[in-house]
Symmetry: C2
C-alpha cells in the first residue's frame, strides 16, 4: 500500500474523454424493473484482446461504484486503467488469451446513459427525473451489449464490490450465458452499517443548497455534498490498519494540497483532496442513482431466501473476500458460499488475509493470492484445460505425509470409495486425495481447507475448495449430501472432536477417519519404560512442547468412542506404514495408523447440542 | 440493546434548562494551553450524595462529546440522566456512599463557557473566535471547580470515551489529587480512522452555507452540517452487529419520523431522526471545539512516548474496553495498559465481551461486567476497605483444583517465595494464590488472566489483574521486573510453551512452573497395559476428545527441556497430591504433580526469535 495521496480506486485520469471507448445504441426501449422505460439508451464500453472464432473466450469485467469502462490501458501510451494489475497481456485475466469487455454502468457518467444524459421528453438532463434503476437493469444493458457483440456465453463474469453484485445478478438472470463467476469483496446485500454510510452521503448531496433537486447542470452543482459523500466512502474503503499505516506517523502534518476542507491533520488533507478530485470527475446524480441501486440490491436476509434467489445459477463460482474488509465483511461472502453449497453449486472460496480493507481487490498487496486464484479458476474453465494431473511430487508436498514412496493410506481410502461417489474431504490440503479420486469416475468432490496457499493449489487442479474452520462444523452442508466424508490425519488437531464426527455422519452416509495410533508399540514403550511423552515420525514427529497435535488417542480409544456414541464401525484398516502393510493381529499394539469407515449405528442420536456452527 | 429510535447516548431530554445545575464562576482568567486567555469562565455542574467530613469520598464523573452535567436523575421526578444505570443510590457508583460531581465541559453548550457564550470583548457570542481548547484546559476548569468545592483529592475520576481522556489527563496533570482512575472505552489518542470521521463531520458543519464562520446565533445555523456530523457519529458508536440487529429485519420499512433526510431505509429514518434531535440540543460551534480538543489529545504514538506521558500518574487504574468497539478499539486500551505496566503503575484491565460497540459503556447489556468491576475497584480504594480475605471456598472454586482439603501446591509455592517479593502470576484465575501472598508482607503482585468473571473476582479482592492471552507473550513487562513469575497448572494448556517459558525467565528472576506429570505410574499403566490414552483426576480428568489440555509431558520431559534450553533448575518439588505428600524417590513414576523453580542457566540465550508478542 502506498502512502501517496493517490488512491488506487481513483485512477490517475481526470475527466477527459477516453480514447478507446466504443458506444452501442440500444435499439429497443429499456423496460426498467421499477416500471419506468428508458428510450435511446447508449452503452459505452471498451474491449481488450481478440474474440476467438468459437466466440467462447469472452470475459466481462464489471466496475464498482465510481469506476468506468477503462479497466486497463490499451497500450503503453494509454492512460492507466483501474485494474491494470489484473487485466492485460500475461496478467491474471490474460488479454492474450481472453477477449475482455468492460462497460460503463447504466446510470453512470462516463458514456453510458445516466442522470446527466438528455431526457428526450424534456430536452434537458434527467437530473432527479432519472428513474430508479436496479442491478437487474444494469445487467440487462450489459446483456444487450453482449448480443450486440455476438457473444453467446461469457467464459466468466468478474467483479468486485458493486461489480460483484453485477456478477451475481448475471448468474441468476442469465444462467445459460455465464460459465463462471468470480465475485470479489462482495455480498448478497449491503450490511446495515454500509447502507447507513451511503444514506449519509446521499443526505449530504441532496441537502446541499446547490443540488436544486438535481437540476444543477447549468451552474455549480452540489460539490460539497458530493465531496462529503466521497470522504465517507474513502474511510470505509480502507481498513483501520491501513489508515493507521498511512496517517499515524505524521498525523499533524497535513499534505500540501489545495482544498477548502479542514487541513489540520494529514488524514484530513487526504480526504479533502480525494473529495475535491472526485467532484471533478463524477456526477452527483449518478452517485445517488448508482449507490441507491447498490443499496436496493438484496438477494435475501436468510440462508433459505438467499439459496432460493441463487437457485437459477448453474455456473461455477470463485468467491473471494478479504479479511480486513469491514464494508463488505467476509461473513457476507460466507453467507453467499453457504447458500451456493446448499444449492449444491460448484464453488471455491477463500478469505484472503489482508490489511488493506475493502480496497484490497484493487491493490497489489494481495495480488499474488487473488490474482493467481482468478488465473487458476479461469484456466480450469477452458474446455481444453488439461484437467486434473496430481503428481507424485504433489502428494509428497502434503505436510502430513509419513510415506516415502506412495500414500498407502490414500490408496486404502480410495479403495473404500466406489466409482461415482460424492466425497467431502475435510482438511483437504492441496487436494491430493481429491485429485486422485477425480481421475476416475466420480460424483461431486468438495474439499475444505484452512490454508490459503493450499486452497490456491486446489483451485489450480480444478477442484472446488472452500476455506473453512472445521471447528465451526459443517452446517453449510445438507444431511446426507455426500456418500463419503473423509477426515484424513486431521482428527488429532481438532478442538471439537465430537462435533466434527457428528457433523461427518450427518452430511455423509459414510465417514472415513484416519489417525496415528498413540498406543503403537514404540510409543507405549517410551512412556512406560522411559517415562517420556511419546513421539515418532510423520504427524507425531514433534516435541511435546511444539506439536500442533492436541488429541492423543489409540485405536481402542476410538473404538470405545464409537461404541459410546452409537457409531457403527463398518471397517477398520490398521496399517503399519513403516513396513507398508496392513496389520492383522493386535492392531492397537502394532499399527501406527488406522483408517476407520464409520456410519450411524442403532440408537444413534442424529443431532446434539454440539452442532453449533452456522456454516463455513 | 433496544431497537427503539432513542439511543441511550442521546438521553430523553430536550434542550430545556436543567433543574439541578449549579454554577461556579472562575475568579482568575483561564490561561489556555494554546496561549489564548479566557475571562469570566463559568462552569455548570451537578452533585449527588453527600461529601463526608473527611472530604475523601468524592468521585468526578466526566461526560463524553455530547453529554452534560446531568449524569443521573436527582429523584424520581427528575429527567433521566445519561448514566442512570451506573450512578445513583445502591448503583455501581453508589451515591449513598460517594459524593459524585459532574460538570459540563469547557467549550460545551449546557451551562459552561463555550463558543455560544458572550465574548466580553465584543459583546457577541464567540462563535469561531472561541479559542482552541484542549483536554488540559477542560481539566484545569474541573480542577478549579474541585478547589471551589473544597475537595483535596478525588477518590476516583471516572469517564468513558472523551470522558476517559479527561480521566487520563487528571492522572497526568494532577497526580496527587486523584486516588484512582476508571477509564472506559477510551484511548491515548484517536485512531486515524476515528479522526477521519471527525474531520468529515466538521467539514460538513463548516461548509454548510448557514455556518457563516460560526456567527449564526441570530439566524438559522448549520443544521444540515451538524446533523450530518451526528449521523456519522451515530454509525461509529454502534457495532456492525448492533446495527444488523437493529435494522436488518425491516430495512425497507423506515420509521415514521418527521425528517427532511432520506427515508427509504429503516436505518436512514433512524439517522435522520438522530440528526434532527441533536440539532435541537447542541451547538455546532461546541461540536467543533470539543471534537477538535478530542482529536488533538495525544499522549504519544509509541509505547515509549506513552509511558513517558503517563510517568507522573501515580494513582491506581481500572481500564475497561469493549470487544466490539471499533471507534476506540480494545488495542488502544491495551496500549494504555502496556504503558502503565512499563511504568510499574498499578492497573487492572479487562476487554469486556460485547456486541454493542463504543456505546457499550452507556448501555445495560454489559452492566453486570463493567458496573461490577467499577464497584469492586472503587470499593478497594476505600482506605477502610477490608482488604484481601481469600476464603477456603475461594480456592476450591479454582477450576484446576485437584485438592479436597487445601491447596498443597499453593502452600509449597508460597514457601518458595520470600516475604517482600514481587510476583507475576500467569493465569491467576480468581486470584487465590495472589490473595494468599497478599496477606503477608509482599512487593508488587500482578495477575494475568483471560476469563472475564475471574478478573472481576480478582478486582473484588483488591488485586491488580490484567486480561491477557499468555500465547501473546509478556512483552509489556520489563526484563527482571519481578522476583517471581508463576505458571501454576497452566503449562499443559499453552500453545507456545517455549515462548512463555522464555518470557517468564526474562521478566522474572525466578520462574515457578507446576504441571501434572504424564508419566505418573497410573497413567503409564493405562497406555502400556490397556493401550488407552491416559486420564486421571484434576486437570487430567477429561477424555481424549474433550480435554482442554494440549501438552502432555513428564517430569523427565521438562528436565530435558530445561537442559536443552540451558535453563537452570533451582528446585524440584514432586508431589503426590492424592496422598498429600512430597515424593522423594522416583518422582517421574510416583509424583502426579511437579513444581519447578527455574532460572537462566549458563549459556542461556536471553532472547530468541520466539519472543514475538507486542504486549498484553
Amino acid at each position: 500500500m502506498t502512502a501517496s495521496l493517490q488512491d488506487s480506486s481513483d485512477s490517475l485520469r481526470s475527466a477527459k474523454p477516453l480514447r478507446y471507448v466504443q458506444t452501442a445504441h440500444l435499439a429497443d426501449p429499456l423496460q426498467l424493473e421499477h416500471h419506468a422505460v428508458l428510450q435511446g439508451v447508449i452503452v459505452a464500453y471498451e474491449t481488450y484482446g481478440q474474440l476467438n472464432a468459437a466466440k467462447n473466450n469472452a470475459i466481462l469485467v464489471c466496475h464498482a461504484l465510481s469506476g468506468d469502462s477503462h479497466v486497463a490501458r490499451h497500450n503503453e501510451t494509454d492512460d492507466p486503467g483501474w485494474w491494470d494489475l489484473v487485466v492485460g497481456p500475461g496478467k491474471a485475466i490474460d488479454t492474450d488469451q481472453y477477449f475482455v469487455v468492460c462497460s460503463n454502468l447504466l446510470g453512470g457518467c462516463r458514456g453510458t446513459t445516466g442522470p446527466g444524459s438528455i431526457n428526450l421528453e424534456t430536452g434537458k438532463p434527467y437530473g432527479q427525473d432519472f428513474p430508479t434503476i436496479t442491478l437487474n437493469d444494469m445487467v440487462e444493458v450489459q446483456r444487450r451489449l453482449m448480443d450486440h457483440l455476438g457473444i453467446q456465453r461469457w467464459r466468466s463474469v468478474v467483479g468486485g464490490s458493486l461489480g460483484g453484485h453485477q456478477a451475481l445478478t448475471w448468474a441468476i438472470q442469465f444462467p445459460h450465458r455465464v460459465q463462471g463467476v468470480v465475485a470479489l469483496a462482495t455480498s448478497p446485500r449491503l450490511t446495515s452499517q454500509a447502507l447507513a454510510f451511503d444514506v449519509v452521503g446521499r443526505n449530504a448531496i441532496r441537502q446541499d443548497p446547490h443540488f436544486c433537486d438535481g437540476q444543477y447542470y447549468e451552474h455549480q452543482g452540489p460539490e460539497v455534498g458530493l465531496a462529503i459523500a466521497r470522504m465517507i466512502g474513502h474511510i470505509t474503503y480502507l481498513s483501520g490498519e491501513a489508515m493507521a499505516k498511512k496517517f499515524d506517523f505524521d498525523r499533524l502534518h497535513p499534505r500540501q494540497v489545495a482544498t477548502e476542507f479542514e487541513k489540520v491533520f494529514s488524514v484530513g488533507s487526504y480526504l479533502g483532496y480525494q473529495g475535491d478530485k472526485f467532484v471533478e470527475r463524477f456526477d452527483a446524480n449518478s452517485y445517488i442513482a448508482i449507490s441507491m441501486a447498490m443499496d436496493l440490491f438484496d438477494l435475501g436476509s436468510s440462508r433459505q431466501a438467499l439459496a432460493a434467489a441463487l437457485q437459477p445459477a448453474t455456473c461455477r463460482w470463485l468467491v473471494l473476500s478479504f479479511s480486513s474488509d469491514w464494508l463488505f465483511p467476509s461473513s457476507q461472502s460466507r453467507d453467499l458460499v453457504n447458500a451456493l453449497i446448499a444449492n449444491r453449486t460448484q464453488v471455491s472460496y477463500c478469505d484472503i488475509s489482508s490489511q488493506c480493507g475493502h480496497d484490497a481487490f484493487l491493490l497489489a498487496d494481495e495480488l499474488a493470492s487473488y490474482g493467481e486464484m482468478i488465473r487458476g479458476f479461469l484456466g480450469q474453465l477452458d474446455p481444453k484445460a488439461p484437467g486434473c494431473q496430481p503428481s507424485q511430487d504433489d502428494e509428497a508436498y502434503e505436510t502430513t505425509s509419513i510415506f516415502r514412496q506412495h500414500r498407502l493410506d490414500y490408496e486404502r481410502i480410495g479403495e473404500l470409495i466406489p466409482a461415482g461417489s460424492s466425497v467431502l474431504d475435510l482438511g483437504c490440503g492441496s487436494g491430493a486425495l481429491l485429485a486422485r479420486l477425480k481421475q476416475g469416475q466420480h460424483g461431486p468432490l468438495v474439499g475444505l481447507e484452512r490454508d490459503e496457499s493450499s486452497i490456491l493449489a486446489g483451485i489450480r487442479k480444478g477442484l472446488d475448495v472452500i476455506q473453512a474452520d472445521l471447528n465451526q462444523g459443517l452446517a453449510a452442508f445438507a444431511d446426507d449430501q455426500f456418500d463419503f466424508v473423509v477426515l484424513s490425519q486431521t482428527l488429532q488437531a481438532i478442538d471439537d472432536v465430537e462435533g466434527i464426527i457428528r457433523e461427518m455422519l450427518r452430511v455423509g452416509r459414510t465417514g472415513i477417519v484416519s489417525f496415528p495410533n498413540f498406543a503403537f508399540r514404540r510409543l507405549r514403550k517410551m512412556l512406560a519404560e522411559e517415562g517420556r511423552a511419546p513421539k515418532s515420525t510423520g504427524v507425531l514427529c514433534y516435541e511435546w512442547y511444539n506439536t500442533p497435535n492436541r488429541r492423543f488417542l489409540s485405536i481402542a480409544d476410538f473404538e470405545e468412542f464409537c461404541q459410546q456414541k452409537r457409531i457403527k464401525i463398518h471397517r477398520t484398516i490398521p496399517l503399519n506404514t513403516e513396513e507398508g502393510i496392513e496389520v492383522l493381529d493386535n492392531p492397537n499394539l502394532d499399527a501406527d495408523l488406522a483408517i476407520f469407515a464409520i456410519g450411524r449405528g442403532e440408537g444413534y442420536v442424529e443431532r446434539g447440542v454440539l452442532h453449533h456452527g452456522e456454516g463455513i
